[in-house]
Amino acid sequence: MTASPMIVVDDLAVHFGEGRDSVRAVDGVSFQVHEGESYGLVGESGSGKSTVLRVLCGLQQQWQGRVTLAGAPLPKRPRRDFFLRVQMVFQDPYGSLHPRFTIDATLSEPLAIHGIGERRERVHRALEAVGLDPAFRFRFPHQLSGGQRQRVAIARALILEPRVLLLDEPTSALDVSVQAEILNLLARLRREHGLTYLLVSHDLAVVAHLCSRIAVMQGGQLVEQLSVEDLRRGSAATDYTRDLIAASSGEIIAQPAQST
């Protein structure tokens, strides 16, 4: 069962605007993500990678093509129970939490929407799962650091126990030391819950750390898919991917000398 596809995207296209001004944000993109796999989408701004995520979570409702999620076709206007299968973590932890809601209210809201009981216990467990002290429950977002907010956002995404987690640049607004904590947390949660990840990032090192297969997007098209080993070796098929790898690894400094 490990090889059954969790996400199938076939010839996906998204247009913004109409008539002559219409822009093809995503243009004939196809890929598959297996159950339990972590798949990376990389590309520069405007490559369409975030738009693919917005289609998959039902935020972008105008698209053409065929998309299957967890064995069922993606509806154009998703109903409520669709969202029990897929959730998303956003880039900016300062903008993705409601400023007037306590952490408790933010985490209880999805449970209330879906009429799920035992909210106190579930909120408590969700906080523990992401490594937050339950004493944070009644704080407001502005009383938390960026990393703590991102943990709350992850807890909120996981509280509905989805099978697919979409990650939109989940660490690019964080400091490096906090980024390491969040990446470790995401890796652990995937192991423990058998989640399928689709990670969008511009940072090849982050994608290589978390993902086993990577797709490179440029100008709305998927130009190349490669394994993480190929990425680390720099053996890419297209010039564009090689450029991206060079731009990322050129700056990387030597490994610090080993010490105790």
């Binding site: 520069e44 400091d175 490096v176 030391s177 390491a180 470790n184 090192a205 290589a208 700056e251 400094i253």
Partner: protein
């Protein structure tokens, strides 16, 4: 080599509802015609240092220093008029997002022309237009005529940052402070902007302070690096030796970076030690207690 900028025991504190909050605590460094990197995480006070040098902090900030001089001129004692003259003419700043620093309702070319006029290097009509195009070409903008007519929001991030740098350089400043100049840009564009900056610094003999959260970027670009923790320089080191840094904070930062070439199962996380607030600091690999 005479130092361009001397900073000795710079202290900045912000008055808040719960008393004064220190942001910069005793930072000292001097800068010649070189590229100095200031690295730190959010809240470390790195941007505050840049703004303190340019005296751009709000009134709620209390700035003191044993010495804060630019080419021998005391920056703390300058009149507002002298300060205005200094800013923009001798010291300039490049911010993270050029779209906030450029006037949104004027075409980019007109803004550059205006700056030229202010600095008395104008000319008129065709001559001025040619000059602006030359300046845009100098920052490797390939279609300067389009960029001349474009409004800031019509430019991509990289294009806007180039235009901004072009404008900053008209006055031929001797010190450029760049606060996260490339963090809003894509990796491939980032390199181009940095190479433009590098080229300008070495050709014009300017001093450059690059403020960034990105260790890799600073290590690859600067000559010397200051690592800032809680408003204090915990380590000063040549950029090429950054991998051999000694302060546990610097080492922890380096270890927590995921690397393309070297996969690890779990990333090392930073355990913050309260002793770092006042503990020993390192200069070029030597422990200095102060």
């Amino acid at each position: 080599m005479a130092a361009l900028l001397n900073v000795d025991n710079l202290q900045v504190a912000f008055r808040g509802p719960r008393g004064e909050v220190p942001a910069v605590r005793g930072v000292s460094f001097s800068l010649g015609r070189e590229k100095l990197g200031i690295v730190g995480e959010s809240g470390s006070g790195k941007s505050t240092i840049g703004r303190a040098i340019l005296r751009l902090l709000p009134d709620s900030a209390r700035v003191t220093a044993d010495r804060l001089t630019f080419e021998g001129q005391d920056l703390l004692g300058l009149s507002p008029r002298a300060l205005r003259n200094l800013r923009g003419r001798h010291i300039t700043m490049v911010m993270q997002d050029p779209r906030y620093s450029l006037n949104p309702v004027l075409p980019v070319g007109d803004q550059i022309a205006e700056t030229l006029r202010v600095h008395g290097a104008g000319g008129r009509g065709r001559e001025l237009y040619r000059k602006v195009l030359d300046i845009l070409e100098a920052v490797q903008i390939r279609d300067p005529e389009r960029v001349y007519r474009a409004y800031p929001h019509e430019l991509s991030g990289g294009m806007g940052q180039r235009a901004m740098i072009a404008m900053m350089l008209i006055a031929d400043p001797r010190l450029l402070i760049a606060d996260e100049p490339t963090s809003a840009l894509d990796v491939t564009v980032r390199r181009q902007i940095l190479s433009i900056l590098d080229d300008l610094v070495s050709r014009r003999g300017m001093g450059l302070i690059l403020i960034s959260h990105d260790l890799n970027l600073v290590a690859g670009f600067c000559d010397r690096v200051l690592i800032l923790y809680a408003g204090r320089v915990v380590e000063e080191i040549e950029a090429r030796n950054l991998h051999a840094c000694r302060h546990p904070y610097s080492r922890g930062l380096l270890a927590s970076l995921p690397r393309l070439e070297q996969p690890v199962g779990e990333l090392a996380t930073l355990q913050r030690d309260p002793a770092w607030l006042d503990g020993p600091v390192y200069r070029f690999g030597e422990e200095v207690s102060r």
